[in-house]
Every structure is written in structure tokens, then in C-alpha cells.
């Protein structure tokens, strides 16, 4: 189970991840505690626990930012590849500028403006490596290896819209990633939801299987509760449901729900509304 056990059990996700071939959309309203990026360590750690290759593509932060958070939460051993997409915001960046960084913080790939084909090729290579590793593991009789698949986490896709990119292009980026990852991969996309990105979020909801909406409490601010998250099916979930029915029913049905959460310095707790430790 992933780092947030309550969340995983509430969602009926034993592995802490959605099904293979799915897209999970995480939206955040406002800044600060209403930030859906609290789920990024969960997905990366869950992938690591399931021995699945994880890739984090960030359009908003550097690698050190996530490394620092993971260390504070005790997830420093989680291994994942980092793609520095923050470089897309830079124009005229000198080649090799990142070589001065220490190896431990150097990104595995740098996504620059106008070089998406190179990224897609790199992503395709990672998918091939993961598939090969799965085949090797299956041949060796390793039972604990899940059936392959790369977990791709994209943070801040809405930044492309802020940079003037058309919504259809940003959606195409996700479509291409999904096509490359294939039916085994999983994609998690994190965006900010406001009046400028609402159109992008609408398009992404149509292409997602799960939707996590992080918002502030309706009743107002609270010291002990950072916000609430609404989890509902995305528009493609019905096809997933049909797949479960066709396969005889795996017994794991996704349940829409509303949870409250509290962000502390080293942990994030999820609980049902009215079940915080203050109430109890």
C-alpha cells in the first residue's frame, strides 16, 4: 500500500494506484494547503513499492523541491526519474547549463521548448525498458512484479497555458504520453484550477478515469483541516467498469467519496468528514 493508507483503502486501491492504462487528474483550487501536490509522494511511493518505474515531469518545480519533501516525509528511498520541464519556460538557455549540478540532483531528462519529439522518444525508450524488465521478471518466476507499466506523474501541466500555449496543444501532450505508455502505463496529471485553466481542466476530465478535486472547506478555514478532496470517476471510467465486468469482476469497485485532509510537517492525513482527531 502507498504512503497514504487511509486514502488507498477508502478508494479501494490496494496498490495505492489506479488501474493500468488509466489517467488520474488532480486539480487544486488556490494555493498553499489546497494543493493537490500532496498526492505526488503518494503515487511515486506506491509505484516504488509495486516495483514499477516512475517518472516525474515537472513544469513548476526543480528536483530539489520534491527531494526535500520526500525526505521530510520519510520517503527518501523512493526512486524515480525526474524530467525537468521547467526549462520550457526558459528561452535561449545555454546548452549544458545543467551539468554544473550535482549528480544526485541532475534531472534524467530536460524538456526544452520545441524538443518534444526527443522527450517522446525518451519516454518510449523507458516504456520499452520497463516492458523488457517485466518480461525478464516473469520469465524468472518473480511473482511480486506487477505486469509492467510506467507510472508517469506530470505536475503543473497548466503552466503551458500560462505560457501562451493553446489548450489543445497541452491536451495533445498528454494524449501523446498516454499513447506511448500504452495499456500498461498510468498517468497522473496535476493542474491548478482557476478561471484561466478551467478550459484545460474540462478537456482533461474528458480524457481521465479518475478525478481528484482539492478545494478549501466550504465552511471556511480551519486550523486542523487543510481542505477537502472530492474523488469522482472521470469520463472514461465507464470503459474501465466494463473491463471489470468482462473479466468477471475483480471485486474492486471505485467509490466516489469526499475526504478531509490535514497537512502537517512530515505527513498528510486523510479522514472522513467529521472524523478528525479533534472531533474524536
Amino acid at each position: 500500500m502507498g504512503s497514504y493508507k487511509t486514502l488507498s483503502s477508502s478508494l479501494n486501491w490496494p496498490s495505492g494506484l489506479g488501474d493500468q492504462g488509466t489517467v488520474t487528474l488532480v486539480t487544486s483550487v488556490g494555493l498553499g494547503a489546497n494543493d493537490g501536490t500532496v498526492l505526488i509522494p503518494h503515487f511515486l511511493t506506491s509505484a516504488h513499492e509495486q516495483k514499477l518505474p516512475a517518472i516525474l515531469v515537472s513544469f513548476t518545480q526543480t528536483y530539489n523541491h520534491y527531494l526535500h519533501i520526500m525526505r521530510k516525509m520519510g520517503m527518501a528511498k523512493t526512486k524515480f526519474k525526474f524530467v525537468n520541464a521547467l526549462a520550457t519556460t526558459m528561452v535561449g538557455q545555454k546548452e549544458g547549463g545543467l551539468e554544473s549540478l550535482p549528480l544526485v540532483t541532475r534531472p534524467d531528462y530536460t524538456l526544452r521548448r520545441g524538443e518534444w519529439s526527443g522527450f517522446f522518444q525518451w519516454l518510449s525508450d523507458q516504456t520499452t525498458i520497463a516492458a523488457t524488465a517485466t518480461a525478464t521478471g516473469a520469465a524468472a518466476g518473480a511473482a511480486e512484479v506487477e505486469q509492467g507499466g510506467v507510472v508517469l506523474v506530470v505536475d503543473g501541466l497548466c503552466s503551458l497555458v500560462d505560457l501562451g500555449m493553446d489548450i489543445s496543444e497541452a491536451v495533445w501532450f498528454m494524449d501523446c504520453c498516454r499513447r506511448i505508455l500504452g495499456s500498461k502505463g498510468r498517468i497522473v496529471v496535476g493542474v491548478l484550477l482557476d478561471e484561466f485553466t478551467e478550459d484545460l481542466v474540462r478537456e482533461l476530465v474528458r480524457k481521465s478515469h479518475y478525478y481528484f478535486g482539492f478545494t478549501a472547506l466550504v465552511s471556511g478555514s480551519s486550523r486542523d483541516i487543510s481542505g477537502q478532496v472530492t474523488v469522482v470517476p472521470g469520463q472514461l471510467y465507464c470503459q474501465l467498469q466494463n473491463l471489470h465486468n468482462n473479466s468477471g469482476g475483480s471485486g474492486r469497485e471505485f467509490k466516489p467519496l469526499v475526504l478531509h485532509y490535514c497537512v502537517s510537517d512530515t505527513n498528510v492525513q486523510f479522514f472522513s468528514p467529521g472524523q478528525s482527531h479533534i472531533v474524536l
Partner: protein
Amino acid sequence: MNATGLSIRRLAAYQQYTAPLVILSETVRQTALPLQEAMVRESLARGMYVIAVCLEGLPSSDIRASPLFRLIDQRPTVESILSVQESSPSSSSYLLPGLLKRTDFARLQSEIEDHIRRAQEGGVAANGGGGGDSRTGVLVFVDSIDRLLRSSRVSTLALLRSIRGSMGNSIKSRLLIRFSCDAPVRYDSSQSKSAGVADSLYTANALCDLADAVVDVHPLDDLKTWMPGWYSDGNQPPFISLRDNDPRRGLVRLEHKRQSGKIGFEVATFEIDPQTRLPKFLAVDVSAGSQLPQHVVPASGSALAPQAGASSAPPQANTAATAAAAAAANTFNSTVVSQAQHASLQPSLDPAANLSFNLNLTDRQRRDKASVEMPYMDAQMASASGEPPSDSAGTVAGDILYQLDDEDDWDEDDPDDDLEI
């Protein structure tokens, strides 16, 4: 309400109505994909050929496994993604022209019409080439036309018009389109980005004008907002709420243009049967004076049909014609369900229904609450009746007793005396 049955039920069952072009209009809060796939399954169950034009994703595996299914795959391949040409780093557009290349509409139209012709010829051969309309029905469905509209709106409308013409007026031929009516993206990338009426509104109007039937899909929670007497509380609704995008049920509003020129409107709820995965439709009465959704009375005028499998005797009002009509309706598996089942489809009106803690009162708590005497109720009741309260000391109930301070200067004059009214 249509006393002879729901129009959308007949439409989905290919009964009575000819509708060569049907558009399923969806929003971000409720997708039409489950209903579209259920209608596709209904077509397959009736022996019709189904041609899928897939631009974004494939249909469910059970649909693809059918021998009557034909696929026109227009999705981008991994090879095409990896082989795209790079643009200049200083280009304002990240996106590489190859990914947004215009769709070859002529080729797509030719391919669709070729599939239609082969399907119809195959149906004639299967039926022995007999006289009359022995052609097998054909359903062409497009998973989402947004990508076509982005490429060229004019060409997309022309494509739909020509495919609709190829369908003819056969009751068993149909073009089924899913359209996102709240997608505000700019259609037809060749146009400049100018302010004004949103492109999606213009496109929605154009599609509605072209279509023979438009089915708007909404979440069930929207039903209460259509009821007379509902008012918003002024709070902004959430972007997506807990009951949105329920893949099993929803609310539909049908606008059907019949060949006679009449336009019919209908509101109904639908539920996807988990076993058969076919749609069931239930009527909804949103007319003035109705408080809650009601059942439609079947054509026989008898009581609601019992639940399938129940060992109850049929109503005495049943006639042979009614039984035949009921049997015909049952072939579509859209029976009128019992009120208990219908109630289960309605959103719960009890706000304390889905909480993790108990807010309900026990009988003793209700009695204690009812027996609590409000402290000033006695005085208020006495004020209303004009009688002094039982514990008063000669004062009139409801009076405000105020002791003037030394600094107070009580003026008995009317402050409005100087007004010349």
C-alpha cells in the same frame, strides 16, 4: 408525458422514429459515453452492423469483440508521434505542426461510405437477397468529433451532412455522434482568435440544426433545478460534485425533429443495466404542480409492472393487445420498474443520508425535544392574544421595559412633523 411510451426509448430501440443523425450532447459534469456505448450494444443486439470512427479512444472490449463491429481507427500512432518534425525553438507554438495536421476529410468520408456499403451488401446477402428492405441496419458512431472540429469545422459539418445522406431514411440506419457542448476550445485552428460569441456555441447550434435528434445528458442532481419552485442559494456550484459522471445513470433531455415537421421534447432518466449493459429509460414529470419525479403509466393503463421474476398475477385490465405491447417493450428490456427501484435512482433528499456519523434522533430524543418549553414562549403567546402572561406584575406582555438614564432626553414629538407631506 407521452402516454404511449417514451420517445427516447423508441428512438434507442429503432422503433417508429427515423433519426439518421443523433447527437449526444455532454458536459464535463456528465459524460454521454456510457449511454453511447449502451446504445451501440443495443444495435449489436438487434443484428445491426456497427462502424466505429475512433479519433481519441477505442470502445469497450465487449463491443470490439462483436463480429458485427467494424473499426475505422483515426487515432495517432506511436510511430507518427515519434516521427514528427521539430519546430524552431523560438517558435511561439510548442506544438509541432505534424501533430495537428489537418484531417483528410475526403478520405475519411470515402472510407466510412465504403464500410456502410459493404455492411448493407453483407446484410442483403445474409438475407438471401430477398425483396423489400432486407438490408441490415447500420450504425456509425464517432467517439468524439472535437478533433474533427478543431481541424475544420466547415469540413466536419459537410462530412456529417454527406454521411447522413448516405444513411437515407431507413429506420435502421443511424449516425451517432458524441459532442462536448461546453468545450470552449477554438475550433478551426485556421481562424484568428477573436473575441465574440464562443465557437462552441456556434458549433453547437450548427450541429443541432443538422441533427434529427439531440440528446442532452445531465447528472441526476440537475433534475431538482428543473423543478418549478427551485431557487439557487446564491453559492457558486462546485466544478464537479460528488454525484457527477455516474457511469450508471443520468438525466436526458431529448429534442426530436420528426419527418412531419413537429419537434418533440422529452425529459427522462436513464440507467445502464449492470447485467445486460443496455439502457433503461424512465419518464420524468417536470411540469408545474409536480413535486417529485413520477412514473409514467404504461399504455395499458394498468398498475406498474411488477419486478421481473416476481410471482404476482397479472392485472385484470390486461388485454391481449396490451400483453403484446408489453412483450414488444420487453424485447428492448426497458421495462417500467417498481417505485422502489425508481426511488433508488433518485438522489437522496436527506442531507444526513451519506454521512459517516449518525445525525438522526431516537424516539426518546424527539419526545424530549418536543417537550422543551422555550423560555419566552409564554410571553410571546400572551402578546399575540392580548392577555397578560401568567407571571406578569401588571405589565403588558411584549413591552420593552426601559429605565431612562439621567442623560436621556425623551422627546415625545414626532420627528417627521416638519415634513410637508
